[in-house]
């Protein structure tokens, strides 16, 4: 008798559980479909149309014409892709090494660690428009503090965001200021969870600092660092705010990333068809880059450690 009632209780529990799982997930899953699947389908439909928002006659079906146009006839697209890759590579390389270096310094010195750590959230949390605007003042050739200081050392300042040759670099610097702390905080957490034994053993063996770093620290911190890098890569491919405020893609189109190009195509030139096609190509590029990265880095996306 006893096992039977137990089973009955289990069954009602199971049914209860199922009901709970379904009801708790349903709102979120419906929302996620509305966020991901629905826009994607609409984008595909619109990308197959000649859709000029200001045209009173409305959209017409053109097949793959928009994609052909973009891939084979549009120098601006390839240019913006190149700028996107340059921007991402520049940001990631500087942020990674700088973050790793500062995290290493902080992990040994304990007194100021907590103060510095809380100061470092500010760049990440601050309103990007306000941040970019502050940099815009600092970069200004006539009002800017940067050129003023350079002049004190008898260096002639530059036009920074106004100079086609260094505009991209100037934008990258702002991104570095904003996101190096993110890298740093994650690597710091990585450093603090490292075991101490390998380091003691290496010191006893008389290993040089550089060798300890290269052969012990780096491999141990690798999993954390690789995940942090992946998120930064995805996010910098999609950077919008700081470029939009600092240069709006200019001067010329020297800082026009794919994201900005898609945006301007859609909302300045109102070419919805081409912009939708660009958005799809953009998505495929992000997925491709992440997949290559994951394969190369040997990570499993979504896998928990």
């Amino acid at each position: 008798m006893a096992p039977k009632t137990h089973m009955k209780k289990n069954n009602t529990l199971n049914l209860e559980n199922k009901k709970f799982i379904v009801t708790s997930l349903a709102p979120a899953l419906i929302s996620l479909i509305l966020i991901t699947v629905v826009p994607f389908v609409i984008n595909i439909i619109n990308s197959l149309r000649n859709y000029y928002l200001a045209d009173p006659k409305g959209p017409t079906f053109v097949g793959l014409e928009n994609f052909k146009q973009i891939l084979f006839n549009d120098a601006n697209f390839w240019h913006s892709l190149w700028i996107t890759l340059l921007f991402t590579a520049g940001c990631i390389l500087i942020e990674f090494w700088l973050g790793l270096y500062i995290a290493g310094l902080l992990s040994s010195g304990g007194t100021f660690r907590n103060i510095i750590r809380s100061l470092l959230i500010l760049p990440m949390a601050a309103t990007p428009v306000a941040v970019s605007f502050t940099w815009k003042i600092m970069y200004s050739p006539s009002l800017g503090i940067i050129n003023y200081f350079l002049k004190l050392f008898n260096i002639n300042g530059a036009a920074w965001v106004g100079d086609p040759k260094i505009a991209l670099l100037s934008v990258i610097l702002v991104d570095v200021w904003q996101w190096t702390p993110f890298m740093m905080l994650i690597m710091l957490a990585g450093y603090m969870s490292l075991p101490t034994e390998p380091f003691e053993a290496a010191t006893v063996d008389g290993a040089k600092d550089w060798h300890i770093f290269r052969y012990i620290t780096l491999p141990l911190i690798k999993p954390v660092a690789l995940t942090a890098l992946l998120f930064r890569v995805i996010d910098s491919l999609k950077t919008f705010d700081i470029i939009f405020v600092l240069t709006r893609g200019g001067p010329g189109n020297t800082t026009e990333t794919l994201n900005l190009y898609t945006y301007l195509k859609g909302f300045s030139y109102l070419r919805i068809g081409e912009a939708s096609a660009l958005a799809i190509i953009f998505l495929l590029i992000v997925i491709a880059i992440s997949q290559i990265y994951l394969k190369y880095a040997g990570l499993e996306f979504g896998g928990s450690n």
């Binding site: 009901k19 709102p27 996620l32 984008n43 009002l143 998120f231 898609t262 945006y263 958005a279 992000v286």
Partner: protein, 243 residues
């Protein structure tokens, strides 16, 4: 800069010592518009929090604590939404809102901010739920509570600090967001970042009041950072990675 008079602000070399004035702040506050943009931003942020939490909390709990078929796929799906370029969501929704005639409403911006934050918030909250020991909810269930009751009465209070931190991160994202707001907002629903952006893009820039409004935009950020920095660091960094 925001405390300088116009002559001081434009002086070269920069004047470090100047007579500070609060005129710029008064000017910003007196302009009816800026208080309205501030109000818009706060309202949009609060409604975004409300919906993201109501939709996200139960899902993140289930994904963190329950075992069922297809769980891994849902996890992967939620994570991979991060890859989607926001502009690809913006274009279709801009068209939908245009057809519905709700461009330039706060509601349209709230909907987009929910879309931006939901999967991130679910991911961060999963981390907080994972820290609850397994025995607690089982005890509650054996006592004959229904699952939903046990969840609301017993589990939620335990993760309250994590939920507050998540709410603050969501609010900050919404408060800072430019891309969706600048596209959807007209004069009626303009948020603080959009107002700032419009300031910058004008031909002649009045640096003083602009700096003052930039500072005002940063005030909520500073307040929140000082209150909950520990959970904030966790949410913004490790919470973003994996749990």
């Amino acid at each position: 800069m925001s405390l300088k008079r116009r002559v001081d602000a434009l002086a070269m070399p920069p004047r470090w010592i100047f007579s500070p004035i609060i005129d710029n702040y008064i000017k910003v506050f007196n302009s009816q518009d800026f208080t309205r943009f501030y109000f818009n931003s706060i309202l949009i942020g609060l409604f975004t929090i409300l919906f993201v939490l109501i939709i996200g909390i139960p899902a993140s709990y289930t994904l963190s604590k329950m075992n069922f078929r297809g769980k891994k796929d849902i996890d992967f799906w939620i994570l991979s939404t991060r890859m989607a370029p926001p502009v690809g969501i913006l274009i279709p929704y801009f068209l939908i809102f245009k057809n519905l005639g709700i461009l330039d409403t706060r509601a349209s911006i709230v909907i987009m901010h929910i879309a931006l934050n939901l999967s991130f918030a679910i991911w961060v909250m999963k981390g907080f739920f994972a820290e609850i020991p397994k025995g607690i909810e089982e005890a509650a269930l054996v006592d004959g509570c229904s699952h939903w009751r046990a969840f609301i009465r017993i589990i939620l209070p335990l993760v309250a600090p994590g939920l507050v931190a998540t709410a603050i991160i969501v609010f900050l994202f919404s408060w800072n967001e430019l891309l969706f707001a600048v596209t959807l907002a007209g004069n009626a629903s303009k948020t603080v970042p959009v107002a700032l952006y419009n300031f910058v893009s004008y031909e002649e820039i009045d640096w003083g009041p602009l700096s003052a409004s930039a500072m005002l935009a940063l005030i909520p950020v500073l307040v929140f950072i000082s209150f909950v920095q520990k959970q904030l660091i966790k949410g913004l960094t490790l919470g973003a990675i994996s749990k």
